[in-house]
Subunit: 329 residues, 2 copies
């Protein structure tokens, strides 16, 4: 019997507070050596888009085994009236190997990415943070703000947003003000995001730095979730140089895919040893923020453990709440 | 909308003659550079079994993109009253990336493995072959014989079988005699399989050679589908040395996983250049059997392209014949 869960089912079952807890646990188990995150497989040409296959396992009490298949087809909206990103997650019973749940993965992808930023905020931002700025009002952006909001125990008061597309920024503002009850300010300059903000989130498709690191105020926490190729980055070398902590969702994944760290390493500005996995801070192997003046950076590229953890959460909730449909096939 | 297909649906839609054609096409497209077969991902500890994640793409007119998730849990039968091998295949629309079909993959795995042996027989066995022997009457064995039967255009007359488990051998005999109308003889010695047979199939879980290569009669074609680790093999070095043709389902996969070839290469008995992909024979880049006296060897380890091809076949047939259930999720 396989439990099938639609995007609507997932939406009903999943909230950010829980996603934060599960993603934090995934990072913790990675640090403890209880999780397996194989290098993801990418398939593109001759297909007109990219498919990523991301299996993973988390041991310990979570005991989760799942694979996400996510496709990124940029021409889908114009050519097929379909979303660019499509995803499904297959959850296995770790005791038998049987696939017991299949669920839409698009909302889970956005939520676990927001939760990753949230976990970074919890351990790296100043405790009294109340304001943030975000580059881009795009598909990932809303859940980024929701992640920050819950990581700050709902103390977030204001979010500045910068996006070239004004109507996207307007709907971002409207939805978030309604959902979170915070003040959202649309700004017409990226650099404005660096003024009177405690936390900065970069969630763009840019492959080159968004701002000069010289302009970052002391004490700011920066989370970058956009670029995920060795030659692409949202943050410049000055930002990385000035940071007191350069943290990764998973160090090995960032050293393979995150130009934000790879380029400054190649330039000799920092070394691989300067990069810390967030899990090592969660488990206390490494220290977190030490001063109110520290600039802290959290860079995450998507890793399967995030999806696996949140998919397991959703599956378990679906059984408890009797949501979704069971199909025998 | 996703078309879900059970094992019964797949059984209704799939026959060996079609599987042979599609697996041959997959090997051909691999030779032409129109297929992508990433190294499969394996996940085991701390799970009590093995999961393999096998995505692949076949271009050309087949235009197929799919991922198989297959698990091998040896304690399933005794502990959970479930099969050892469980599998599902997710078929994507190559034009949009969307997952449009999900089907049981256990029968497809057996069928495509039988079809691989069949394609080997078609290109490498003597044209007048009428008899075969098979080591093991286990889970893969029946479809191996069915593959040989159809590859010989139903001219197979007799199959000798050797299996330590007599009741398994008896049911193998009963089922195949009924299904194919051939004579099945149970033998009590593995070496008997080498006498008065044209084709030999090794389909065991053995990790050491099953017989001495000195005993192989001239002109025999040998297909090995069992061992799939660099240190495991069903065929000894003498067999490989005596062979006029050492063919692989996919050369790169065998050089990574097939001890049957890796060990004799390490021993200096043959070199990597002596291994040929079957696709290169299908496309005419390399020659096949040249003499009635040649001993030919076909070694295949499972590659995703086989699953992708057969899954696409099953999916297309399901739409045409209106079989399976459509679920929106």
């Amino acid at each position: 019997m396989v439990r099938l869960l639609s995007k609507q089912d997932v939406n009903e079952l999943l909230n950010m507070a829980d996603a934060l807890e599960y993603v934090e646990e995934a990072y913790k188990q990675l640090s403890l050596g209880n999780a397996i995150v194989p290098q993801r497989i990418a398939i593109s040409d001759p297909a007109p888009g990219l498919t990523l296959i991301m299996p993973g396992l988390i041991g310990g009490k979570m005991s989760a085994l799942a694979t996400k298949i996510v496709s990124v087809y940029k021409e889908n909206p114009t050519k097929h009236n379909m979303p660019t990103v499509l995803a499904k997650i297959m959850v296995q019973d770790m005791e038998t190997g049987d696939i017991i749940g299949i669920m839409d993965g698009s909302l889970i992808t956005a939520m676990r990415t927001g939760a990753a930023t949230g976990v970074g905020v919890k351990y790296l931002a100043r405790k009294n943070s109340k304001t943030m700025g975000i580059y881009s009002a795009g598909v990932q952006a809303k859940k980024q703000v929701v992640g920050v909001y819950w990581a700050l125990n709902q103390k977030l008061e204001k979010c500045k947003v910068y996006d070239l597309n004004k109507s996207v920024a307007e709907s971002f503002k409207e939805e978030l003000e309604k959902e979170l009850g915070i003040n959202v300010e649309i700004t017409d300059s990226g650099d404005n995001l660096l003024v009177d903000t405690d936390i900065l989130v970069a969630a763009t498709t840019s492959t080159t730095p968004l701002f000069s690191g010289d302009k970052i105020p002391e004490g700011m926490h920066i989370s970058s979730i956009g670029a995920h190729a060795a030659t692409a980055r949202e943050l410049d070398s000055t930002t990385i140089k000035r940071a007191a902590l350069r943290v990764a969702g998973l160090k090995e994944a960032c050293l393979a895919e995150a130009g934000d760290y790879i380029i400054p390493i190649d330039e000799g500005i920092i070394s691989e040893n300067d990069i810390i996995s967030i899990g090592d801070i969660i488990t206390g192997k490494k220290h977190g923020r030490e001063s109110e003046n520290d600039i802290t950076v959290f860079k995450s590229v998507g890793i399967s453990a995030q999806d696996v953890a949140v998919a397991k959460l959703v599956y378990d909730r679906a059984l408890t709440n009797n949501i979704g449909q069971d199909v025998d096939f």
